[in-house]
Symmetry: D2
């Protein structure tokens, strides 16, 4: 089918390719002339035959907001917008409302798979009305991995459900990554273990802990044994923070996910104010030596 | 090759089958007459042609201790004992020493894969001397999954390294399971999500969080939606506790693994003494109501 | 000085008494006829001589909202409203704005001390303009404990700073209570310890861990040794949740405070969905027994 | 009464002073000539009139071991040794046994209060036989703070109970310090708060979170606002590690104490191997940028 695709970055670019390989006609828009198919969003709307389906694949937050607002102006009644970015699920309702006022339908789609999705397919979690989801199904079927539809795609519920499921997916992902990281650190710390990389390689097949992330960690360790070239400084893109916030709202204890989130915050601190306070306290009551700034430089 | 196998429980029974299918001659011993091939350990030793290789697959702790001690009495110089159970790695040195005094070699082998290993192969992490590991390699090659040896097998280091790697493997496993559990609880708590099982099913393919455990959780949810038939009461078999203890020894922070261990402890408490104290405190300073035992029954 | 006091519950009632003992003229309003001094908010406004100072001490959330809105209608330019409840600090700005449009000033005041404040004084953390804080100082000076002003009172910053400081205070309080609870549970679990209460009693003087909460826990244990009459079920009133949410916003790792919050969530669950998932997983891969619901009844 | 005191470091030196002020005859031994009263342990034994009481106040571990062994050689039947250091409670049994074989009694005494104990008294937790504890009571009564005996002293149980109680005390102390540290970090991160030190000062009186440690933190912040001169690098002396290990043995969940222990481990790492792994993983699946070592220098 025909699809408009707004945003041709790391994810959108690959998705356009996978969709075209799947026989769809994709017209992509991106502000960067070297990748875009049309010069403007208006041109995109004109190039698509109504009723249109437009997939938005831009950074979450203000850029998604602006894009959807602009689409509401260039699209028409009966069209359908799919937000495939990592928007917070609470933004989906307002987006659906804004579009709905013009008779434009809305689907939120969580997309997982990263740079590997082009080849292996993308895991998809979508929220929206049944008819809208059905309408976009040819696109979903091409983007998702081969095999039974329910193994790589879920219509999780009404608008918002797709991004909620994706947010939880990413929260779980944080905790999984920390778990593998802790295991690596333990293996690397124990002198009995000749080579942590070989252990991670051996875990890729047959073990209970095998997974796609586990394979990637084995691969990363092979490429840079001991991670000598990499810092522990780790950004977070929002879903982990949102997951803990939603857990608090829902009164769900998430010690593992929260620990992995806090570990990221810590990784970006030069020194921990909390531990400065602890160190100062030990000095106060016990006369324990503290490490002065000049020593630690 | 010929192998003696002591312990024909859930794991050992399946391993005997896989090894026989792989063309090995396995003579199994187990105290239960209905499964054993020979009536006694002595008979086992007599049935094997020296130099013998005997795989011990019995519960860790006293039973493993006793078994290895008895083997040291019925085996002879030049034989090889492999402890494939979940022994703590600190027990391997003493076992190796006891056997070594009689000229019997020792390998510790961590075995992962559970009840699925029969069909899919077992992930193996072994510790011991090169020559000993080489000697048992035909056994390892049949037990491990098909594919490159290094993807399901590792000679992790000297005696102890196999069980250390397996212990870390299980510690990571604890944290992975809690991560998936937390994700499930979040999905189940949010009313937007129609069916958490469908989301877990959709995660099995294409997503970043896909894994063998993730697939099993989807399967478990399909078999018992909402886990209506199952209690959260969860035992632990030791490796999680040992992992945190070793982390403390090595000064490795393991917040994720520790959180998953504590969650198990909590799951086995009828009521938390810590929280009784907290509740009592709130009552003391704020006059906040406490829930009396009679109310909570 | 003269003060209007809205809300004569557990906290407000005691505060009226302490203020009157301190020589202030307090006119209290509460919907309950048995405690109120005036029949309506309008009557309260009429009974106070302008420029008025009115302290609001009602439950945070909608009741505080409504109260402040009603006060904006019955008070006049030049008056001052102090919100002494546990409002979230983000609500202070809108309240200040609404009142400010009528020329009414606003102070947010975090009040600590619980039921003991009547006798010992209340710890106060306030936010607002210098002149407004100065104006209410006679009230603050009577409410706070005797001794240097800066030891029980802080003008923490502009509007919002008082409630922010109080929120952090309560977040820290959560973690302190859990710390003492964990210590109690450890002492109670170890058979060498004859009587955990005696240990907590001994900690009240001379030790590094001595504190007001610690003394209260010793007292609670004396009143109900072993906490045989109390359930671990523990409510939370919001500040702990807000503290973790603000920590996420500020990218501050708060593993201790978060752990104590999650422990409260857990204390209110009959069974943990997370651990049901973990237990189901163990059964799937290892054939480990699960506890069926019928067994755990 | 007369007392031998072995070890005149930061703690022992002050205790000698406090005991002498309390009217006791203290003969101190320390290898450092400038502080010792007698040249050798033998001289100490000779200077004391049997039956002797000797208090050992030396670093836990090998030095305590050696000291008690040497005392078993120079003391006689009927004497009493008190280990007041921070020995792990599991060491008390062997020490008691070694001394007991010579008819020498043993008490383990946990001592809290740090450098402030000289003036304010020391919190004491002791383990041993009733008669032995009774015999040393004049010493305990002088060391402990004034006031009711049970408020600063506990005979917690048989040999080992004193050090167990002290270990838990220190585990709780870790979590308390982290709680105050997290609160400080939150206040310092929020721009509404003019001066975190002023808030901590205000918490010292009237608030629910007031405590001795809280006062010390306010004092430390006054001395070095913003902790500009101090690093977060924080040592640990063992009790926190032991507390978590004992919690694991007793199956007691201690998320707060464990979090504070892991925070210390983290404070001593230049970079986190766990987070290197997480960062490498993000790069693998998402093409997310990693921070190269050269950038972080």
């Amino acid at each position: 089918m025909q699809l408009g695709l707004v945003g041709l970055g790391k994810m959108g670019f690959n998705m356009r390719e996978r969709l075209r390989e799947g026989g769809h006609e994709v017209i992509g828009y991106d502000p960067r002339p070297e990748v875009t198919d049309v010069p403007t969003l208006t041109a995109l709307a004109e190039a698509l035959k109504p009723p249109r389906v437009v997939w938005v694949m831009v950074p979450s937050g203000p850029i998604t907001d602006t894009t959807i607002k602009e689409l509401s102006q260039v699209l028409s009644e009966g069209d359908l917008v799919i937000d495939g970015g990592n928007s917070r699920y609470t933004e989906d309702g307002p987006h659906a409302k804004m579009l709905g006022e013009k008779g434009i339908a809305f689907i939120d789609a969580g997309v997982s798979g990263g740079v590997w999705g082009l080849k292996e397919g993308y895991g998809l979690m979508v929220g929206g009305a049944d008819a809208d989801v059905e309408r976009a199904m040819p696109i979903f079927d091409t983007l998702r991995p081969p095999g039974p539809r329910e193994d790589g795609f879920v219509h999780a519920g009404p608008v918002g459900a797709g991004h909620f499921a994706k947010m939880v997916h990413n929260g779980v992902e944080y905790a999984l990554m920390s778990a593998y990281g802790e295991g690596y650190e333990l293996l690397a710390a124990e002198e009995l273990i000749k080579d942590p990389q070989a252990v991670y390689q051996a875990w890729t097949n047959g073990t209970v802990v095998r997974s796609w992330l586990q394979q990637l960690l084995a691969k990363a360790l092979k490429e840079d044994p001991g991670f000598s070239q990499i810092s522990g400084y780790t950004e977070d893109s929002g879903e982990g923070r949102w997951t803990v916030e939603e857990a608090i709202r829902l009164r769900v204890p998430v010690p593992g996910i929260a620990a992995s989130l806090f570990a990221r915050f810590l990784s970006r601190q030069d020194d921990s104010p909390t531990m400065k306070a602890v160190s100062a306290l030990r000095n106060q009551f016990g006369g324990h030596a503290v490490k002065r700034i000049s020593e630690s430089g």
